[in-house]
Symmetry: C2
Subunit: 336 residues, 2 copies
């Protein structure tokens, strides 16, 4: 039976109703504070009847806000959606609340996102997309805010960095394709020159040329299914088409596979082997069965939470986690 307040219930109102001081109300909701069982009960009753909820904004004025900001672009992408999902879950379990700032990947968008982060006194900012300018990271740190960059350029100082071992994936992808007997290699990437994508490309190409295999690199647009499809049209429209490709992203791989099979009648893995990266849900679908590398999202999220809970030791860390190879049937098994 809440009386029509039309405004938020305050501790003061609860105190009045319960016939105690406001301090008593505050202590009732603070663990470890000294309140008698009798007043505690009175307060809880009054609070329940009024529908009182502690104002975390006011609490955040004196102590930590318990707010963590997630700066992210391309939220609809399966891998990003999963990152946000896992992170929000783990952060909630650690008593934090998540603010999501949906941005573009350009510097200006990311910068304004970071400023929002400061406006809301977030304990920490986790950047999943885009690359913030070093000066702004500096400002965040100067304000006592932690900054964690995930799969970003690792040369940014001051912040904590967390990323998967892209070099390992590049080498391993090459190994899988060579073992399958592929001789004309292709690398499919996007024209978003993210540090992670560039690294996977670089290592793959370097390792291939070192092994004496030629690689043609194709980038047909942003990191998407459509770009993978378009890349396939370009690649198979030319002579000397590849018989084994490494797509730096699963989304690219799936678009590439669809066009290769449907428009060019190729059989996978008989005529063409494909390796992806991310292990998005769709890679496991019956139509694709894509061999790829899984980002250990759970472990990465736990690592982030760990960093946040020990603010001290986090200065300029660089954590690298190993991607997990997932063998499916888009690559021929090695002989023997």
């Amino acid at each position: 039976m809440g009386t029509k307040t039309r405004t938020f219930v305050t501790a003061h109102m609860v105190a009045e109703r319960a016939g105690v001081s406001r301090s008593a109300v505050s202590r009732t909701f603070t663990s470890g504070a000294s309140v008698s069982e009798a007043t505690r009960k009175k307060v809880l009753e009054a609070a329940a009847s009024l529908g009182y909820h502690v104002n975390h904004l006011a609490r955040g004025l004196r102590e930590r806000s318990n707010i963590v900001c997630l700066v992210v672009a391309d939220l609809t992408t399966p891998i990003r959606a999963r990152m946000v999902d896992v992170l929000t879950r783990k952060l909630q379990a650690a008593g934090k609340i998540t603010m999501v700032i949906n941005t573009e990947t350009d510097t200006e968008s990311v910068s304004s996102a970071l400023r929002q982060t400061l406006n809301y006194r977030a304990d920490a900012t986790v950047v999943l997309s885009g690359t913030p300018p070093a000066s702004l990271i500096e400002t965040c740190l100067a304000n006592g805010q932690q900054v964690v960059l995930i799969n970003r350029d690792d040369r940014l100082s001051g912040s904590s960095n967390l990323g998967v071992d892209n070099a390992m994936a590049g080498r391993e992808a090459l190994f899988l394709l060579l073992r399958a007997g592929c001789r004309r290699l292709g690398l499919i990437t996007s024209n978003a020159r993210t540090a992670s994508l560039v690294e996977r490309e670089r290592v793959f190409v370097e390792a291939a040329t070192a092994a004496g295999a030629a690689v043609t690199v194709t980038a047909a647009g942003p990191t998407s299914y459509a770009s993978g499809a378009e890349a396939a049209r370009r690649v198979f429209g030319r002579s000397n088409a590849p018989d084994g490709v490494f797509c730096v992203t699963d989304l690219l791989a799936l678009g590439f596979m669809d066009v290769a099979r449907i428009e060019f009648g190729l059989k996978i893995p008989q005529d063409l082997c494909v390796v992806g990266f991310d292990d998005i849900e769709q890679a496991a679908w019956h139509s694709y069965q894509l061999t790829t590398f899984a980002q250990p999202l759970e472990a990465m999220a736990s690592e982030v939470v760990d960093l946040l809970l020990r603010p001290e030791i986090s200065a300029t860390t660089r954590q690298i986690v190993e991607p997990l190879p997932v063998w499916r049937s888009s690559v021929r098994p090695g002989k023997g």
Copy 2:
């Protein structure tokens, strides 16, 4: 050159640095307040050199917090990810910041999410998943908070409700299948008895029996690709298998299609017609080309923002938007 503060910069520090009163600083960052150009400039310089950012938490003590909470489950689902994407975008454009609370669909999880919402003095809560108890909605409203339910049960009073016309989709799906010449109909749903899913099922089955067509209903698990796949195994393992199915969700449809084609060798749409709902990105992929209904997410998000900007007229509204049929090639075209 920020001095190492290790704590957030306050308006007081800026005032000291600029040699003015704290009020002057506050007014500088409040549009429409009266400040001379000279002091304004001094303040802005001091603020920039210290890296000052207005504390929105403190501001939120007096006025609206500009925080909007999104309560959502199954965030990795493509349709949910898109909803969150579109909503965060529109809310940001309207000057709001989004808090995401990732919950399960059970009542207890949703309830605790709603309480968090109150704790952070959110101006409004938007519920995308699960169904909160009416009493808690009442509490939110009594606290002056708006509640918007999207695609939820519309019998919940007090809140604003927003949803797509599920009945229309059910009827139209039946029409498409009958026109394609399908005679043995199937309905694939999940065992998550969401109001939307139940409604689509109900209308489809009722309209079918009214038209003299038999329908077998199959639910093989939660709303997912795997459940759709499992449903196909059950349906085609029996005699009298359907030649036209309406899957209440695209994800179910895609799993169903994959198993029908790959494990049972059926051709779509020659042997089997499939209609989905949601128009997720994957429905448009070359492997599927699924005929489905698009949720007008942009329009729905705009509607939500509209509701938030006019708090008065929002009491107990029920807005229904029309889903948009998307014809692809998983259903045979009608003759003629």
